[in-house]
């Protein structure tokens, strides 16, 4: 166990024991001290859950392999093929986006599995019996998953970024804000995408369904935009291009697939807003539905 046990206040006598003392029936009082549980307990429980299944190791392992492997491969290819002139003015960090786009599928899968697999196995009933505060469980899952996803993404992205900068000598040296956006910012974005998947998993309560929805969300706008040839659909097509997730990812490297649409840190705020709405929906459904 890697998380410390929270301290146990012995003084707090739960009021149900006082109630039971007055009843005419025999009662049983456990010798184990009673602790008033809080979010910290739920977080340590969720940490135990997420680290003790193989699917976590598999999805994160594949994620790291994709991001780092493809990132390094592309950096090596580009440095071997491209001339220094053609790279002039390019942000060297931007070559990490391809691996990250593929790797996001793994984060999406892990996010969905964190919630939906409990419904698939029936474990959710055990969890909700142990913690009747359903919002607390979802919050703990979100926090633990977000922390794990962000840490793993940030480490992988940083590694690729360092390799890109050192290998691609012809490209410009990224500024401080470019470093921040290209590593910290995009890691937050990927982790938020995973968190959205977790919430969709909680809403849909079915692993395959939720994963399909999330992958469609990532890929469908771009694919749909490709087939919108009619002039009357031009504005829709442009919006789909601008706000598709691959396009938003590339905004973090300051060159978008198009010239309109979100810029700067906009994609992060969009993701944050969507995730907040999804969290509210997931909590309200969790409270009202039968487990």
């Amino acid at each position: 166990m890697s998380t410390p046990q929270p301290p146990m206040p012995q003084a707090a006598v739960p009021d149900w024991q006082a109630v039971a003392a007055g009843s005419p029936y025999p009662t049983y009082t456990s010798p184990i001290p009673v602790v008033r549980t809080h979010l910290g307990h739920a977080i340590s429980s969720e940490w135990t859950k997420i680290r003790s299944v193989r699917s976590t190791m598999w999805t994160l392992g594949v994620f790291v392999a994709l991001v780092v492997g493809i990132g390094l491969l592309i950096a090596a290819l580009v440095s071997a093929q491209a001339s220094d002139e053609s790279l002039a003015g390019e942000n060297p960090l931007s070559f990490g986006v391809f691996g990250l786009l593929l790797g996001s599928m793994c984060i999406i899968t892990l996010g969905v599995l964190t919630t939906a697999s409990e419904y698939g196995t029936g474990m959710i009933r055990t969890t909700m019996t142990a913690c009747p505060s359903r919002a607390r469980v979802l919050a703990a899952k979100s926090i633990v998953f977000f922390a794990v996803a962000f840490t793993v993404t940030f480490a992988s992205v940083l590694l690729v970024a360092l390799a890109d900068v050192s290998l691609l000598q012809g490209a410009k040296s990224p500024s401080g804000s470019e470093w921040l956006k290209g590593t910290f910012g995009i890691s937050l974005y990927i982790a938020l995408l995973g968190l959205l998947s977790l919430l969709v998993g909680s809403i849909i309560r079915h692993s395959a369904g939720a994963i399909t929805i999330m992958i469609a969300l990532v890929l469908a706008p771009l694919v749909m935009a490709l087939f919108m040839f009619a002039d009357s659909l031009e504005s829709v097509r442009q919006a789909l291009f601008d706000y598709s997730i691959p396009s938003q990812l590339s905004v973090f490297y300051t060159h978008s697939l198009s010239n309109s649409g979100p810029t700067g840190w906009d994609p992060l705020w969009i993701a944050l807003g969507v995730t907040a709405v999804a969290f509210a929906v997931a909590v309200s459904l969790l409270q009202s539905r039968d487990v």
């Binding site: 929270p6 009662t27 049983y28 019996t129 487990v291």
Partner: protein
């Protein structure tokens, strides 16, 4: 103390639990009995706040589960043995629950020892047998050392040793002053474990009494009396003589009579006085299993039928005998009627509709026919089954005694109109 008041749960137009009110007291094992699909698990889920009741409420120590302070330390539950992530080891599964409930981690190893899983604690639960899964579920229920324990079908899949262990565990837990609520569809198991019985069928309460009361109410002694098959009028004669003497006489399927309320010597004297020869006069006791079957026979949702293979068999060559059906196929739709001296409480639910489970009542009386039932009298004009060819299995059309009480006596304990909406499905 678990207290349910008017608990009702509907899923769409299907009513799973209807107007259920009961109390589960500490210091005793309370059995929760009912056929498959009678609403036991739904009730358990509502107690645990997992499902919201459509109406009514259920409280533990006066609080709804969601508002219970330190719920996991006060209530432990085994709902479904397979409700664990198969990829997680038994110890990690329990550890995550312990952390969620603020229980020290060393308690996990304790309960693993209590249920005998310490050797497979590090194994993934995917490979567990059903019995090991049940043990893991029981370990999760015991984790918080709670005051209230709920077990849904805890002995499913356990070997005989495991069943004995669970039985003793329940009793020991109750003896410590805890509330133990155990659901089962096995009367025989509950008869050995429970102190108190709550029986439901089709989501409605059928019985709520201590096991002692249940036994005395349902397994009363009776005498089986058989008159010569060749002389049906002797049976008529004896029936009226016994009824006059204050006994209650009910016919059995094979032509024997089930007599209650009279001692064996008295029956013999009456038979002697009325000049009736007896082929059999024997003392019997109805089993609890039988009493339970009788109580729930109207409330069984899933009833098997004989495997006819109709239309699939080759036409028989002329002169060939059709194969004899194997006895025991299909579920009997008939159980012996209740002993009538507790006439105030007929357990069999009235069946105003022609459900397939309708017991083909004999010409004399029906289950639940109490003292004022005119059909219980030996009607001389009643068509007498030819004795040479007894037709006990032939379903008596329209079961005259079963239907009228439901219509003419609206004050029957199980209100017939309440069961109607359910049967629309």
């Amino acid at each position: 103390m678990i207290e349910a008041v008017g608990l009702t749960k509907r899923y769409g137009d299907k009513t799973a639990v209807y107007n259920l009110s009961f109390q589960v007291r500490p210091g005793a094992v309370t059995g929760f009995l009912g056929p498959n699909g009678s609403g036991k698990s739904t009730t358990m889920r509502m107690i645990l706040g997992l499902d919201n009741p459509t109406s009514g409420q259920v409280t533990i120590a006066g609080h709804p589960y969601a508002k219970l302070p330190n719920a996991p330390r006060q209530v432990g539950a085994l709902l479904d043995a397979k409700a664990v992530h198969g990829g997680r080891s038994a110890r990690n599964h329990l550890l995550s629950l312990a952390q969620l409930s603020g229980i020290p981690a060393r308690r996990v190893d304790e309960v693993l020892g209590v249920v005998g899983l310490q050797d497979v604690a590090k194994k993934r639960s995917k490979g567990f047998s059903l019995g090991m899964g049940q043990r893991l579920g029981i370990a999760a229920a015991l984790l918080g050392d709670p005051q209230v324990l709920l077990f849904d079908e805890p002995v499913n899949g356990l070997d005989p040793e495991g069943i004995l262990w669970v039985r003793n565990l329940m009793k020991a837990l109750a003896a410590e002053g805890r509330t133990v609520f155990v659901s089962s569809h096995l009367m025989s198991e509950m008869a050995l474990t429970a102190d108190h019985l709550i029986v439901i069928g089709r989501g409605q309460l059928l019985s709520d009494m201590s096991i002692g009361d249940f036994i005395s109410a349902n397994s009363a002694d009776f005498a089986r009396v058989r008159t010569p098959d060749t002389e049906p009028q002797l049976r008529e004669k004896l029936t009226s003589a016994l009824t006059e003497a204050g006994g209650h006489v009910l016919p059995e399927q094979d032509g024997a009579l089930r007599v209650t309320g009279l001692a064996l010597p008295r029956i013999s004297d009456i038979a002697h006085d009325s000049d009736v020869r007896l082929w059999e006069l024997s003392p019997h006791q109805a089993s609890l299993e039988e009493a339970y079957m009788r109580m729930t026979q109207g409330a069984v949702d899933f009833r098997s039928t004989a495997d006819q293979k109709e239309g699939l068999t080759q036409p028989l060559p002329p002169g060939a005998q059709p194969p004899m059906p194997v006895p025991g196929q299909g579920q009997p739709g008939w159980y012996a009627p209740p002993s009538p001296q507790q006439g105030g409480r007929p357990f069999a639910m009235p069946h105003p509709y022609g459900a397939p489970g309708q017991p083909p009542a004999g010409p004399y009386g029906a289950p639940g026919a109490a003292q004022p039932n005119p059909y219980a009298q030996p009607a001389p004009q009643a068509p007498q089954a030819p004795q040479g060819a007894p037709a006990p299995q032939a379903p008596a059309p329209a079961a005259p005694a079963a239907a009228p009480p439901a219509q003419s006596a609206p004050a029957a304990p199980a209100p017939s109109d309440l069961t109607k909406p359910e049967d629309v499905r």
